[in-house]
Symmetry: C2
Subunit: 123 residues, 2 copies
């Protein structure tokens, strides 16, 4: 009779080990430092209030006063100040004091990239 008992039958599903990798188990990858820097930047955008703040700045064609930013939220002044600090330290925004007021803008360079990031989900 023709072969209908092809000997594939007792081949274990994946040769008893998960598909071996080509490169030696720890090939080229992101450095720990780069991963940490990236994570810091992403984490800074990982809060709705900070996303909103960045969006406000991205939509504005001029600098925006902290006192105006505060109007958008029903949060205490220290809380807004804290979120602005996180965004500043992550390099997303820049502050300039003039008189009693402090004006924020998106940090130069990252502007286009940031607008793209914001568009990356709602699309």
């Amino acid at each position: 009779m023709p072969s209908d008992h092809t000997d594939q039958i007792d081949i274990p599903i994946e040769a008893a080990t998960c598909q071996p990798r080509l490169d030696g188990a720890a090939g080229q990858r992101l450095s720990d430092e780069d991963a940490a820097r990236l994570a810091t930047r992403f984490k800074a955008l990982g809060h709705p209030v900070r996303v909103q703040i960045v969006d406000i700045l991205a939509r504005s064609d001029r600098e925006v006063c902290v006192c105006d930013i505060e109007q958008y939220f029903s949060l205490s002044q220290p809380t807004i100040s804290h979120h602005l600090k996180v965004l500043r330290e992550a390099g997303y925004v820049q502050a300039e004091q003039r008189g009693l007021w402090v004006y924020y803008t998106l940090a130069p360079g990252g502007g286009a990239e940031l607008r793209a990031l914001l568009r990356s989900l709602p699309a």
Copy 2:
């Protein structure tokens, strides 16, 4: 007599109020829902281990077994499993079980975007 005592002298630096906004104090902006969704996605990338995992998947041209992912880190198995879950729930990665092993890939669609995100900082 000609004006040489122009009355600009006692104009306060910024007219006693910070530069007024053009739109009515709460113009068009990101909805709370969109801000929350964006923040959730960014937060999922807000940890170095998860950035590394995404990078590993982004560099690989094939699916990667959990057992291989674990090799990259000196963290417990439950911890890696937890980070994979966060990435899964954020929609960045996909899992497929085959035999005893589970293989992860970047979620379809977002692949190019994700690679761009990863490139967004080290550049």
